[in-house]
Amino acid sequence: MKNLFLLLRREMRIAWTGGGLWLPIIFFLTVATLFPFVTGPDKPLLAKTGGGVLWIAALLASLLPIERLILPDREDGFLDQLAIRGWSDEWVALVKIAGHILAFGIPLLLASLIGSALIGLPEEKLGTLLLGLAFALPALAGLGVTIAALTAGLHGASALGGLLLVPLAIPLLIFGAGSLAENPGNAMQLLIATSLAMTAVSPFAAGAALKAGRE
């Protein structure tokens, strides 16, 4: 347990000191800033489409850190050192995912407060947006780490990562943006269910990818 905490703290430290923390957040806020320029000062239109744009921005922002999630640790022999010490790949993947939720997810939730203000999202929808993103973030982190483990060391890994992650994240996007619609129906429940399933599978998928990548 103490060792899990040590590893998690290292993930946090790398995210803070490596500069990887700010890039996705700045990207997310840039989209929220630019979108009103394109639509013009049309408040009803922004209120209607703004939530969906924030969801797309969050999804694309989650692509940016993929390249630095696994690759540096594999190249430096860090993952091998953990394996020698008897750490299973699934536990390592779980720590990576938890670290990614904390280092990327929480700042993104805070940024979405600013983003929704920039884009003029109606106040009554703010809670739904934050709740939806909060439920989707573990799944996005799990997908990110899995794909990072799959593509680490390949040529054009970041482009490939985008190609792999976006299709897998489409259900999250549909249900997440759907929960902000006029008649959301069961979108939020479906979002939670999808996210739970993805989050539960991802440590095993990422662990298998880590194992396969070790030679």
Binding site: L7, R10, D76, G77, I84, R214, E215
Partner: protein
């Protein structure tokens, strides 16, 4: 994580084979090491020295044969595995904390390879020879009884090669096991030399 201290460390490989990148790299290889043994692995480039060390470390599954290891292992290869943004001291402390090894051991490890003056320099600023020594210090600080060293003499000047020699002997006399992969003949008294060039024969030194 100091279970290895309870039972004496040992390595037993019986007729193992290893496949790496779809190619049969090692076959019919047997090796037995007891506490206090230093085994020298010799072989040309590509003869399978690193593969054998990775096989023993459990990073590569044995394609055939039996592998039994008692005791914790520490591996030093060409990669330092220390966080580049941390000072050398902090980076070594991270592994020491994970291994639960005593804090005094870290200072001993730094001293063993003359790194004390560099302890507060970020690991990323170390030269390549210093990185090798930092990786060796990580091995010493891990308190693991089994050392797997892949070409540890590469990039070391003669003074530091001598330091490594004496640290290896100290480790062996304390009941540790060391496997040293090198392309030069052993500079110290070793229990056995395993030459990977000729059908994996174990020769008594």
């Amino acid at each position: 994580m100091t279970d290895g201290q309870v039972a004496p460390a040992s390595i037993l490989l019986d007729n193992v084979a290893a496949i790496r990148g779809g190619r049969l790299v090692l076959q019919k290889l047997s090796l037995h090491a007891e506490a206090g043994d230093i085994i020298w692995l010799r072989g040309a480039n590509g003869s399978g020295k690193s593969t054998l060390l990775r096989l023993i470390a459990g990073l590569l599954p044995a394609a055939a044969g039996r592998r039994e290891i008692t005791g914790n292992m520490a591996l030093a290869d060409e990669r330092m595995a220390l966080d580049l943004s941390q000072t050398l001291e902090e980076a070594l402390d991270f592994w020491a904390a994970l291994d639960g090894s005593p804090p005094t051991l870290r200072q001993e490890a730094l001293d063993a390879f003359d790194l004390s003056a560099l302890a507060d320099i970020p690991a990323g600023y170390l030269s390549s020879g210093q990185r090798r020594r930092a990786a060796l210090a990580r091995i010493v600080a891990s308190a693991a009884p089994i050392w797997l060293l892949d070409e540890p003499y590469n990039g070391l000047d003669s003074a530091n090669a001598a330091r490594l020699d004496s640290r290896l002997l100290k480790h062996a006399s304390a009941g540790g096991i060391a496997l040293v992969a090198a392309h030069q003949p052993s500079s110290i008294n070793v229990a056995a030399t395993l030459s990977l060039d000729d059908e994996s024969r174990l020769q008594a030194a």
